[in-house]
């Protein structure tokens, strides 16, 4: 049974619809991502789960019980905000023990917990420093320690890595994932970075304009996006219009065997990395002219002109072709995703 369930959540702010009929369920110990562009309602969703914002309609269940009437401070859903929001007037120790102190937990237990958190977060020796004396990565770990110290039922991470520089971001991402796996705490990560979502999460929920468009494992989302919207959001795409006749998809890119029913008009989506550019002497059923090429070390980005269409390809930089050269394209129809027009 799912540990957390959002049921038909609606929320508007001053006539502007933020969340529309949102449903989501999360299993215990899972780490999921809410992925979407800014302004799609991700952070609002977190605040609704935490109890900082009340939904207009719908219900939130934790362990199968509605928590709508449980106030923020008792709900056990702790947010780690993007800008950490460490209390500047409290030391690292004061920050970490804050939640326990508010719950009037005995001092001895508090100190123990702080010690445990400091070592878990590799912050030993930092407990008497003030937040402004810490580096970005340390601040992030204190924020995380402070949230985990209250042993929440669910940990909510709001764009936790976006304030860090690129290198630190990767380190922290690994670190957070390892802590999550160690503690097996149910975690919802909000991000606009698809790579981050892909690398950290058991499941990803794609959020666009206040709705969850698709919810599934990273592989499902990447390989089988259920709509063009999701496909576009998840990276570069090529669309080809064609038709199906007697088990064959006929398109400007060539003919491909398929199990689909006969259709007059159908759109196929194929990722650039599924289109391989090879020498013109290799026999494939598609040929085109390179119009642009960009060298990116291990990969080549090509733009190929073909029967009036522009096709994008990302190929391994084994053999390099120049602009104007005629090339063959190798395409595997298994990797095509079809949408109705």
């Amino acid at each position: 049974m799912p540990q957390i369930q959002l049921k038909k959540i609606h929320k508007s702010f001053q006539d502007k619809r933020i969340l529309n009929d949102m449903n989501l369920s999360i299993e215990e110990g899972e780490m999921i991502s809410l992925l979407g562009p800014s302004g799609c309602g991700k952070t609002t969703t977190l605040k609704i789960i935490a109890g900082l914002v009340e939904p207009d309609q719908g219900d939130i269940l934790i362990n199968n019980q509605s928590v709508l009437n449980i106030p923020v401070e008792k709900r056990g859903a702790v947010i780690v905000f993007q800008d950490y929001l460490l209390f500047p007037h409290l030391t690292v120790e004061g920050n970490i023990e804050f939640g326990l102190k508010m719950a009037k937990v005995d001092k001895k237990i508090r100190k123990e917990k702080v010690k445990e958190m400091l070592s878990l977060m590799e912050l030993d020796g930092q407990q008497y420093k003030y937040p402004n004396e810490l580096s970005g990565g340390q601040r992030q770990r204190v924020a995380l320690a402070r949230a985990l110290a209250v042993e929440p039922k669910v940990l909510l991470l709001d764009e936790p890595f976006s304030n860090l520089d690129l290198r630190l971001r990767e380190t922290m991402r690994e670190f957070v994932c390892s802590v999550q796996r160690k503690l097996k705490i149910t975690t919802i990560l909000v991000t606009h970075d698809k790579d981050e979502a892909l690398m950290t999460s058991d499941k990803i929920a794609i959020m666009l304009e206040g709705e969850i468009k698709q919810y599934g494992t990273p592989l499902e989302l990447y390989k089988k996006p259920i709509s063009e919207e999701v496909a576009n959001f998840f990276g570069e795409t090529n669309y080809i219009i064609g038709k199906v006749e007697d088990g064959i998809f006929k398109s400007p890119l060539g003919n491909f065997r398929t199990t689909l029913q006969n259709t007059v008009k159908l759109k196929a989506m194929i990722r650039p990395e599924e289109i391989e550019v090879v020498s013109v002497y290799q026999e494939t059923n598609t040929k085109g002219i390179i119009t642009r090429s960009r060298y990116a070390g291990d990969r080549m980005y090509y733009m190929i002109s073909l029967k009036g269409m522009e096709i994008k390809s990302i190929s391994i930089a084994k053999e390099i072709f120049d602009v104007g050269e005629e090339v063959s394209l190798r395409i595997d129809s298994k990797n095509m995703v079809f949408y109705e027009v």
Partner: protein
């Protein structure tokens, strides 16, 4: 090279202008100090003939009415400051953090008492205060002092709340603090620097108030500026200067003590400007 020289010359010129202006601003205060310590300074001497403490001693004499009115003034203005801050905190939080219908109008209304002459407000409300039995009493003067003070208190704290926002408080809430715990553990320490500046300014505004005290106090509530007024009016430079000196020093002392008190309570640093 030429550019550099230009800049340097400009800098010297600015320094010169600055010093002249600061000198002109401070000179009158120096004359005031000299007057307050003079015993005899007849026309046309440029310096006093004799120095003495008669003026200052008169003001600080424990049996004098002057000292009594000074203490009354301090007490009055402290009460006004505290009440203003208590009223201002929730209002400033609302104006700084929330959005709601009529916010712009309320912001204007809050600012209005700085602009609208106290003369008009005071005379307009005087009769009502008399009817309600508030005139000629301490409480009435406190109430009427709130009018020029509230705009400053609310304005400064609104700026503070705009900077700190609501996020720290929300963070405390999700960590399990209830609303009262959040207020005392997070909000108050965070706005402590703002409380110091708002409190100082409000104290000054109340402490310097003459007309409203005079009108609503009806000669019964004699504050320090009221004691000082007749000496200035009659041109008794020595006494007036002595009063002014004591006034300025008392203000400084109270402000320093107020700052110390808030700082020691919240061991505050200026967090959000770091």
């Amino acid at each position: 090279m030429g550019e550099y020289k230009m800049n340097k010359r400009n800098r010297t010129l600015s320094g010169f202008i600055m010093h002249i202006m600061i000198f002109l601003l401070i000179l009158p205060l120096l004359v005031l100090v000299v007057w307050s310590f003079s015993k005899s300074w007849p026309w046309p001497n440029i310096f006093p003939q004799e120095f003495g403490l008669r003026g200052i001693l008169h003001v600080l004499d424990p049996s004098s009415r002057a000292l009594k009115s000074l203490l009354l003034s301090i007490r009055l203005s402290l009460v006004v400051t505290i009440v203003t801050l208590i009223l201002s905190i929730p209002a400033a939080k609302t104006l700084g953090v929330y959005s709601f219908k009529g916010k712009q109008f309320i912001k204007m209304l809050v600012l209005a008492p700085i602009i609208v002459p106290p003369v008009a407000v005071g005379m307009g409300i005087h009769l009502t205060f008399i009817r309600l039995g508030l005139a000629n009493r301490f409480i009435g003067v406190v109430l009427v002092h709130l009018i020029p003070c509230l705009p400053y208190g609310i304005r400064i704290l609104t700026d503070v709340f705009e900077i700190i926002g609501e996020s720290m408080e929300q963070q405390a809430r999700v960590l399990g603090a209830n609303s009262i715990q959040t207020f005392t553990n997070i909000t108050l320490p965070l706005i402590a620097p703002g409380l110091i500046s708002a409190g100082s300014l409000v104290f000054i505004v109340s402490f310097s108030q003459y007309f409203l005290t005079f009108l609503i106090g009806g000669g019964r509530i004699i504050t320090f500026p009221m004691m000082m007024f007749p000496y200035i009016q009659s041109g008794d430079r020595m006494m007036a200067s002595a009063y002014s000196m004591v006034f300025i020093l008392a203000t400084l002392v109270v402000l320093i003590m107020m700052e110390k008190a808030i700082k020691s309570y919240y061991s505050t640093k200026n967090y959000f400007y770091l």
